[in-house]
Amino acid sequence: MTTARALQMPTGLRVANGAFVAFWLLLAIFPLFWILVMSFKIPVDSFSTNPLQVIFGFETRRTVGGLSFLDLALGIVVLIAAYRLVAQTIGKAAGYLSLGGQVWFGWILASVVYAIGLALVFGWLVPLVFGLVNTIFGVIPLLNALATPVVGLTTEHYRAVWIENEFHEQFLNSAVVTAGVVTISLTVGTLAGYGLARSGGSLAFWLLVVALVFRALPHSVLVSGYLPAFLNSREWLGPLWESGATGWFFGLFSDEPPTLFGKHLPVIIVLVSINQPFTIWMLRSFFQNIPRELDEAARVDGCSHFEAFRRVIIPVMWPGVITTGLFSFLLAYNDFLVTSLLLDAEAQTMVPAIAQFFNRETTATDQVEAIAAAVSITAPLFLLVMIFQKQIVSGLTAGAVKG
């Protein structure tokens, strides 16, 4: 799309605009880039006052080794090739692997196969081939400069984080909490959002206003409100276990009332209650963009109310649900306040765990390990956005379901 000449901005404004965007991008991306670089260096390099030493890692290169020009160039090529290969073929593979059954099954199977494949390529094939190439180039007179390490690189901090410190436990805790929050938020939000979008009553209006008020509450209010109740839950849940009518039922789960503090469930509850107003509002506006005529056509064509929702609305609501789901995911995944206050050491999620890394011994190595952990937790976010980018874009721009 080209803008008509009469509507174009003056050159000065365009330059200022571009400069501002560039500056802003730099501000936003620089920290990410910097901790990424730091996490691959030994502490002497990471905390050096010389930025060049941080980037190129002189000490790391000398003691551990690093990447040559060849490695960098080949690495970029392999990364791009892998991305394009996956993007282009995973759809077909999913169709093939669904084996004539449900498509979502094919997608899950295809994702697993591709994940194993990529892990094999990057964990085994790439180091092997790169090493071979470097050795070959290393013996050729003029080209051996290309094969000597230029950027220092060590993966010891990642190894320390994931293997020695068993960070995967925190990862699993995060996964449980996040999955719980997203599932509950989306289920409730979808049903409530649909209901509120289709009812014009004043009750619906007041419900939405109340939801907005809850959304505006500081999170610490909710947490401090819940904290005593969770700590004492053994006492106030007692009657449920003691009374004959309900005791047998709750007895199925545990012999005595649990202490909720420190468990995943209460954190999920609190995060859902923080998040739910937002998901309801957001999904409601998505459902309002789905023409009411679709429901009505379905009702006339022979659907009951619920069937109309299942057969007609559900198939067209995914962009909205995925976009809302992403925001719910971010809230639960990145939360620090609630998780750090309500979880015990065993159930701790990644974000508070990283904070603890920083607070531990404060040796330089610990610090870099914390940085490596921080870099690690951004990976799932990139993956999510990459997988769902199409739906997220159409969800953010909405209007994707005009009949």
Partner: protein, 353 residues
Amino acid sequence: MAQVTLQGITKRWGAFTGVSNVNLEIADREFMVFLGPSGCGKTTTMRMIAGLEDPTEGEISIGDRVVNALEPKDRDIAMVFQNYGLYPNLTVYENIRFPLKVRRIDPQTHDDRVHRAAEMVELGDLLHRLPRELSGGQRQRVALARAVVRQPTVFLMDEPLSNLDAKLRVSTRAQLKNLQHELQVTTIYVTHDQIEAMTLAHRVVVMNHGKIQQIGTPTAIYDNPANTFVAGFIGSPAMNLLDGELQGGVFKSDNVAIAGLPADRNGPVTLGFRAEDARVVDADGAQIAAPIYSVELLGDATMVTVRTGGSLTSVKAEKDYRAEIGDGVGIGISPDICHLFDKESGQRVSLAA
């Protein structure tokens, strides 16, 4: 048998009355058109028949069943929506098949029925497309096919042609009329376009402000409008309506004097006549004599407009008639083309002889 009966149907939202006390019998196989300006309650009435709105009062029957408490799906109707209401994630084929699938009709017959319905609206080669890949006219035909595929007892159509361009509207209109004739299914059709109403309907219900103004065949409504609203709504151009005084069989207003009308009524009346019934004549001795306000060439005729009292009056002249704005002109009106309406209530007071 699928006659539709409305008894005392009223719809209120709080203090606002959308439809007020509508009584109507729609015969089996009849093509009934609800006609009226926007906000007149015609769509609400149809939605109440479909079950998408509940009437505040009154009883709706389809066939011999009272359907007030029935869900839309149990009323055995099919509906075509103004914005088509197609399912965007389904192909044309699946869209048309949807009602069969939902109603668990024998899957063996689906393919045959879908193809037959698609043939009927000439969609044969578009079956594998998605709605967003179709033009407006094609989408509307998909909606029609989805309605006919199940052979319901009543068709409801809510302004189905209003989103189409003028040319397509004319051809789709003819297709609709033919389709209804073939299928012989009771059809209720909502429109604000009086030409659609005139061309399609067996009978027309003219509505305004939630009330029925007149029910009748297109001819009856055109020739004998029951009140000034119907007279002013039907026809292109609408009927000329002149306010004036009737004294001893002579109607008088600014620039207007028409003799020979019934002498048994005196006082203020509204007189109406159709543009094509009157003639352009010499100003001398004509019933209306005034300078020309505008001349419009329509191709098959020339429309001459003059100012009479507070309103504009149009008359159709021969197609080769030419005159300049401001020229004096006369309009010849014989008393037998005149319709008289009560000035206060707007109701017809005597039929044109």
